[in-house]
């Protein structure tokens, strides 16, 4: 985690939020969220691009929506004894599912071409842990660092962007890997996990070496 810079200009603070969400706290490589599509959809550069873009978009959108709901609905209700911590799980997942469904319908109406390049990934996204994880960690950040709407928007964007970067990198590497000789038992998930491990090491360095 990047050290807080409380006296920096607002723009710089937002930039730090963006970079730390995308790189040092990369949701895929340091928090392992969204692994399933990361392993299964990274075979081709094109589908990785579609999936990454869809995830980035949905993460940003749902982070902001969930923040508003959390701030203006759940927290006030919590004062009357409503169990906020439990309720937020249900509320967030419903918002995500509804958002994804709406997006899918919208994209289908607007452009069929876009639908076939991006829309087919949308149903998978509801159960992408990175999205729900983004919202849950967003709440942590709101509680501990006092994020407002602007920070939450940037945080969601950074999280989605980080996922996008990771899957694009992986798809690129796997394309080169097609010509490499891999032991039969290591093909597929095995080698992908090892590559992910090496990538994660690179991202850990962004963190300036570890909190234990």
């Amino acid at each position: 985690m990047i050290a807080e810079a409380p006296h920096a200009a607002p723009g710089a603070a937002l930039l730090i939020v963006l970079l730390s969400a995308a790189l040092t706290d990369n949701i895929l490589l340091t928090r392992f969220l969204g692994m399933c599509p990361f392993l299964s959809v990274s075979r081709e550069l094109r589908s990785a691009f579609g999936m990454g873009l869809a995830v980035a978009f949905v993460t940003t959108g749902t982070c902001v929506l969930n923040y508003w709901l959390y701030r203006w609905l759940l927290v006030p209700l919590g004062r009357y004894g409503v169990p906020v911590e439990s309720l937020k799980l249900i509320l967030f997942i419903v918002v995500i599912a509804a958002f994804v469904q709406l997006m899918e319908m919208l994209i289908e109406r607007v452009s069929l071409k876009l639908y076939f390049s991006l829309g087919i990934f949308l149903p998978l996204i509801t159960v992408n842990c990175a999205i729900l994880g983004g919202s849950l960690f967003m709440v942590n950040n709101v509680q501990t660092r006092g994020y407002g709407t602007a920070e939450v928007f940037v945080y969601g964007l950074g999280t989605g962007l980080g996922w996008f970067i990771a899957i694009m990198l992986m798809a690129g590497i796997r394309r080169r890997l097609k010509t490499a000789k891999v032991p039969a038992a290591l093909e597929g998930p095995g080698i992908t996990l090892i590559i992910a491990g090496i990538m994660a090491m690179a991202f850990v360095i962004f963190q300036g070496m570890i909190r234990l």
């Binding site: 340091t30 969220l33 997942i93 419903v94 149903p123 090892i194 850990v204």
Partner: protein, 233 residues
């Protein structure tokens, strides 16, 4: 999502359980659902809690969905399934908060993420929507247990090499390496940080597949009893 055993109306509960435990093991076969659990595998106790939560959520939501399968409208079925899972996960969350407060603080976000664990939804879509309640319960239980024992293996490796202990910070702490309180053990930082999880899991998947491939290659030879797969580190 629809993977694994999809056919058998006639699949018996015990059969379903066994299939999920090994033949269709969610991690070795499908490499699914490792998201929310890899992050907690640097300590065995955290993993134990996560796995318990997953076992509960998977088996109970499989049972519930199977009981309700005729009444769930097809169009909104993912929504309904996710809501059912969420209810059980909330139960887990509350139980952990009450009984394991300290650990819960570390893994709270990941407990919530059981909702989106692909294994749970995968079993609901792939099995519980089409099968009887008892078989579905066994199927969910098997998938979650099959997943748990591998994660516990990963966690065991990571904690042992990372800290020299097992069940660190609990009443049952075992110090296996380094002696004393484990302070003499030179901690393997790589095992504690995220990349370690990828490497350990990759080696385990490698070993399991190598073993499966060899058995496939020589099904007739009875004496070729399980050649130990070398997962050279």
């Amino acid at each position: 999502m629809a993977n694994g055993v999809t056919s058998g109306q006639a699949l018996r509960p015990m059969q379903a359980l066994g299939t999920q435990l090994w033949d269709e093991n969610p991690i070795f076969r499908q490499v699914l659902g490792i998201c929310s659990a890899l992050a907690v595998t640097n300590l065995v106790f955290n993993t134990l809690l996560m796995c318990a939560g997953l076992v509960w959520a998977t088996s109970m939501s499989s049972l519930t969905v199977s009981l309700m399968r005729r009444y769930i409208p097809d169009r909104v079925r993912v929504m309904v399934q996710v809501l059912i899972i969420a209810v059980y996960v909330i139960v887990v969350d509350i139980v952990f908060r009450v009984f394991f407060f300290e650990t819960h603080k570390d893994i709270a976000a990941y407990v919530g993420l059981i909702i989106t664990n692909c294994i749970v939804l995968g079993r609901l879509e792939g099995f519980a929507m089409r099968n009887r309640p008892l078989a579905s319960l066994a199927d969910g239980l098997g998938a979650a247990l099959g997943y748990s024992f591998i994660l516990l293996g990963v966690a065991g490796c990571r904690e042992l090499l990372g800290f020299g202990t097992l069940l660190k910070n609990t009443a049952w702490q075992l110090t296996l390496l380094g002696g004393g309180d484990g302070a003499a053990w030179r901690h393997w930082t790589i095992m504690v940080v995220p990349p370690g999880a990828f490497f350990v899991l990759a080696l385990m998947v490698w070993a399991a597949r190598a073993w499966a491939l060899r058995r496939q290659a020589a099904p007739a030879a009875p004496s070729a009893a399980a050649p130990a797969p070398e997962a050279a580190a």
